[in-house]
């Protein structure tokens, strides 16, 4: 729930309750005042009748005019108590109930007890109250509307710096060189927020840059010692007095060195992709690229007796040349490396997907960890450095492609959506 919505809800509910209560009070007070007014009028009438009776010692004619009715009735024994009351009548001619205010009072004429009833219609009072209530209601609605509007406009405006900061933060990208641009605000809270955000993003960026540079520098620095070891080995094996045992040891060193070099290359490549050092993209014929790569892997495929089936539609993708090459290379390399002898690979390009499916000695892979650095399935042999798919993922992220994995019918499927 939005802060604004929550604030508005509380605010409006409170306003409605207060306004309803005050409307209710209003109603009762006004009604009371108006009834008192009516009662005063009735008292005047009463006085007139009393005066008439005192003067003439007889009752006046019952008269009806306007909204006023006067009637007399004879009381057998006790005189009635003087009372005011509201009575409801059914008016036949108008077919509705109306409220009347009545005064009942006793009067003695010729030693006979009469009850005088004077009724006055409350219609006017009701009308007045109705009008007043309507006006009140209108004011309530208007007030609510204005409140709502003010909240909406003013609060939206007030929260603008916050929203803009939030937008900047969601778009914040470490690999992007741009600084976060934060709106100036006169509100202290927002100024403090922006300041905190700026300090935080600067620090994060700085740390990230340091780390990035560290990886790149470390990888670069490692190339030279690797080159030295390599060259020393190359010189060493020229020695003709070298024994078979020594050669076996040297072969171990060579293999380890190759792995270390490859690992270093992969780390460097990852850093470079992260650092956006591959610039410029072209339209690349994906089907041609796949075919080229398959030719490159020909010997490897033959040596493992892997059967390759392809179904390649003519498709172009917009991608950096080198990255496209590495992407397809890594996917195919995996499909071959983790395949079993006499296994199969099927590659299809259709629509905007490339799918590579391969049989393997590996069971289903963990979809969560698959693209993590240095993740390798427990059953894999030592070859492969666990960076191939991280690089694939990194390239996809960079180029705006999607890659997903599934395991079906004992086959691993990698699907690239571009």
């Amino acid at each position: 729930m939005k802060l604004l919505a929550r604030y508005n809800r509380v605010n409006i509910i409170a306003t409605i309750i207060v306004l309803l209560l005050s409307g209710l009070c209003y109603y009762f007070i006004i009604r009371n005042v108006l009834l008192n007014q009516l009662d005063e009028d009735l008292k005047v009438e009463e006085q007139e009748i009393l005066d008439y009776v005192r003067k003439n010692d007889s009752l006046p004619n019952p008269s009806n005019y306007k909204d006023q009715e006067v009637s007399f009735s004879l009381n057998a024994d006790k005189p009635v108590r003087r009372t005011f009351k509201s009575v409801v009548f059914f008016k036949k001619e108008e077919n509705e109930y109306t409220w009347n205010r009545q005064i009942l009072f006793p009067i003695k004429v010729n030693n006979k007890n009469f009850t005088v009833t004077i009724s006055k219609s409350e219609e006017e009072t009701e009308d007045l109250i109705q009008v007043i209530l309507l006006i009140t209601l209108a004011i309530v609605l208007l007030l609510l509307f204005v409140l709502f509007l003010i909240n909406r406009l003013l609060l939206s405006k007030l929260w603008k710096p916050f929203n803009s900061t939030l937008r900047e933060l969601t778009q914040f990208n470490l690999s992007n060189k741009n600084q976060v641009t934060l709106e100036q605000s006169r509100i202290n809270e927002f100024r403090e927020l922006n300041q905190a955000v700026r300090i935080m993003t600067d620090r994060v960026k700085q740390d990230y840059d340091t780390l990035k540079n560290f990886t790149e520098n470390a990888s670069h620095e490692m190339q030279t010692p690797l080159a030295i070891i390599n060259s020393k080995l190359d010189v060493l094996i020229q020695d003709e007095t070298i024994s078979e045992f020594q050669v076996q040891q040297l072969q171990g060193i060579y293999n380890a060195l190759d792995r270390l070099s490859a690992l270093n290359q992969s780390l460097l490549l990852l850093t470079k992709i992260e650092n956006n050092q591959f610039v410029g993209s072209d339209n690349i014929a994906l089907d041609t690229l796949v075919k080229e790569k398959l030719t490159q892997f020909e010997e490897l495929l033959e040596s493992k007796k892997i059967n390759v089936t392809t179904q390649l539609e003519k498709t172009t993708i917009y991608c950096n040349n080198q990255l496209a090459d590495i992407l397809i290379n890594n996917l195919l390399n995996n499909a071959i490396r983790y395949n079993k002898p006499n296994g199969l690979i099927s590659i299809s390009i259709s629509g905007n997907t490339l799918q590579i499916a391969n049989s393997s000695f590996l069971p289903a892979l963990d979809n969560q960890k698959l693209f993590q650095r240095f993740y390798r399935h427990g059953d894999t042999k030592q070859d492969g450095n666990g960076l191939g798919l991280s690089i694939v993922k990194q390239i996809c992220d960079r180029m705006g492609f999607l890659i997903d994995y599934k395991f079906m019918d004992d086959k691993h499927f990698f699907t690239l959506h571009f």
């Binding site: 080159a227 020229q238 290379n329």
Partner: protein
């Protein structure tokens, strides 16, 4: 043939010199920018191995200087920075080749041989070794005047062997040369190619040129 090795890592420079001397190259070394510049100004070399990051300056500036003076020395850049930008920049400035570190000395030797061939025998790129004649332009091979039909990989393999004749080349170096870095961990299938090349050479020349060294590498020899 004179070669200048501009490389600040003395250990690496030393190995390179040891390896190349067997090929009868005359090797000189420079360990920093200033010495390198002095040497290139004073002498002409058939090939210069140039490291880009040097104490005292950038290797690419030496390259610029060479080109400004119209010196025809072949230049092979050896760099710890395997970056396309460096490669493109280097080649644009007139370098003949680019080899990222780490590399096998046999690979280095083959690349140097290729540069020198291009520089010296323009138009007639012929490599000879004990009856084997390789025309590197036409990519044709004959042994004792009999033509030898080779596949692309076998041809590359033969040229690589001849460029590193009489020296032991590790399987790792051969795999790296023929398939690049992608094949790490898969050295088995180079057997097939070596076996085939060896068979063809024996059939045509009656000589077995290739000696296996305890299964770790091979030596191409005329003995």
């Amino acid at each position: 043939l004179k070669i200048l090795i501009i490389e600040d890592e003395k250990a690496l420079s030393e190995s390179i010199v040891t390896y190349l001397k067997q090929e009868d190259y005359i090797c000189e070394t420079a360990f920093d920018f200033k010495t390198a510049l002095q040497k290139t100004e004073l002498h002409e070399y058939d090939c210069i191995l140039l490291d880009i990051s040097l104490p005292g300056g950038n290797g690419l500036d030496i390259l610029k200087e060479l080109k400004a003076n119209d010196q025809m020395d072949g230049v092979l850049i050896i760099s710890a920075k395997n970056s396309l930008d460096d490669k493109v920049a280097g080649l644009k400035l007139g370098a003949d080749d680019y080899l990222p570190k780490p590399f096998h000395l046999s690979e280095l030797s083959a690349r140097i041989a290729a540069i020198i061939r291009r520089k010296h025998f323009a138009g007639s790129n012929i490599v000879k070794f004990n009856g084997i004649v390789i025309d590197t332009l036409a990519r044709q091979v004959s042994v004792n005047d009999k033509p030898l039909e080779l596949t692309k990989k076998e041809y590359e393999l033969l040229l690589y062997f001849v460029s590193n004749k009489r020296r032991v080349i590790s399987k790792n170096a051969i795999a790296g040369h023929l398939w690049g870095d992608d094949m790490e961990g898969n050295l088995d299938f180079i057997y097939t190619h070596i076996k085939n090349l060896r068979k063809k050479l024996i059939e045509t020349a009656g000589t077995d040129y290739i000696i296996s060294v305890y299964g770790m590498g091979y030596k191409f020899t005329d003995q």
